[in-house]
Symmetry: C2
Subunit: 263 residues, 2 copies
Amino acid sequence: MADSENATGAQDPGAELDSHSPDDREFSFGATLDWRRLDQIQALGTRQSAVNKPTTVLRQGQIAASFYILVDGWGLRYRQLGDGRRQILSFLLPGDPVTLSALSPRRLAHSVQLLPDCVVSEFDADAVAEKLHGSEYLQACVNASYEHELAMADELLTNLGRRSAKERIAHLMLEFDSRLKLRGADHNRDISMPLRQRHLADALGLTTIHVNRTLRILRNENLIDMRGGILRILERDRLIALAKFDAAYLSAGTANGIDAGEH
Amino acid sequence: MADSENATGAQDPGAELDSHSPDDREFSFGATLDWRRLDQIQALGTRQSAVNKPTTVLRQGQIAASFYILVDGWGLRYRQLGDGRRQILSFLLPGDPVTLSALSPRRLAHSVQLLPDCVVSEFDADAVAEKLHGSEYLQACVNASYEHELAMADELLTNLGRRSAKERIAHLMLEFDSRLKLRGADHNRDISMPLRQRHLADALGLTTIHVNRTLRILRNENLIDMRGGILRILERDRLIALAKFDAAYLSAGTANGIDAGEH
DNA sequence: CGAAGACTTGACGGCGGTCAACATTGGTGG
DNA sequence: CCACCAATGTTGACCGCCGTCAAGTCTTCG
């Protein structure tokens, strides 16, 4: 069916980002696209601040004045539908840029909310955009991050379009686990997570009630225990099999070459 | 709670792309991100070819050797799930680049199929990537296109997560209509469209059977008539109201400032 | 004319939405 | 320290949208 290419896992995508013009090297993002390094550029005037209650820092329809880096905590990108319905487009984890869209002077197509206990670095959006023009390295980082965001959006699309509620939740939890590990978080199986069941529902196209039901099923089956702001992955292998999870998309590339005939 | 910002609607996003360094102006993409102008760069050695049967030009897991521009016809980006399930991530229309991902030397996370009666321009992926480094203007075009693709992915996410089958189909049809018009196609209400009901199903997270049922309902209600490769939008206003369609996301910005309290 | 693919229609069932209570948790002030 | 309240989580009953299965018909093309 498909050539079985062993998951070496040791691939190092984005590594080429480290081999650009040396004058840029003051801020090396590395292969994991960790934007926290941007703080190293003194000229941009970093301003760190803590967030201790849910805060919408960017609102759809507006033009962004600030570009943020999420230093610690969780955030979410979402779109509002007017009649109250909300769709969460992606979750932001430590190291993520808070909207690459903020770097272009256009109206935002989505809002961004930071959840309690966040720390963000704030930059002047124009200043960063200006800095971009002079730096091929930074441009490469932006492109790589765009690829990463698109890959995650595509995976979520696949989730919503083609997986059951149980698979969706399992898949999202495994994504959190993988993303945190790629950024160097050293949790064992417990992940501190400020998300409510509402957040899972709004991201996965479900209702909170059904998320609740499904979480209970997953807990009864000894797969996931998510309660009290703690996500605990119990039997990872079975969970991965259930969700058909392949972490390849998180490193902006896929290892398995699935082939199908035309049509 | 928030300032009500009037929808001016007359903004011209992307217009600034035309005011860059003059030496780049040999290939002006304009505000509509129409990549067909890339043909003007002789150094890249354009090679046009016609496609008259469904052809997968890029396959997930591989590294792209070519970068294409869709000159005429329709294509689709999709992801395969191994067990046969397929999710269409986006549709490609004339003027669209066939995967910005092809410009970075990584494994593709999705496949691209061209439908019958396509015309594409083919470029060497490395050559275009190389050209990128020297041109701020081209970089800006790439960024703007990334924004555009993300905006469309986000909208499709909203579609899958928060809209009914009827709304989804209506919304997608209106998107096709708008995108074609933005690229200068001058159809009245009939759109020539090679998509089958399977394609709508695979994009919208439905089954062909339910797409069929829903299309019949839409036809009975005098909203859409899609048959024999022709899409006919009958009563646009009612359709827009049904789908809650707002074309703002297609110009990489949103005009309506929806406000909601925190939480 | 035959075959393959696309489209159509009906019967039936399940996943997940809706409605309605109620329990639990956490924060706030008396 | 406890009363209170709001937000979140939990559970059950019911139902509808959409998936599944099955049997066609229509279209296209060799």
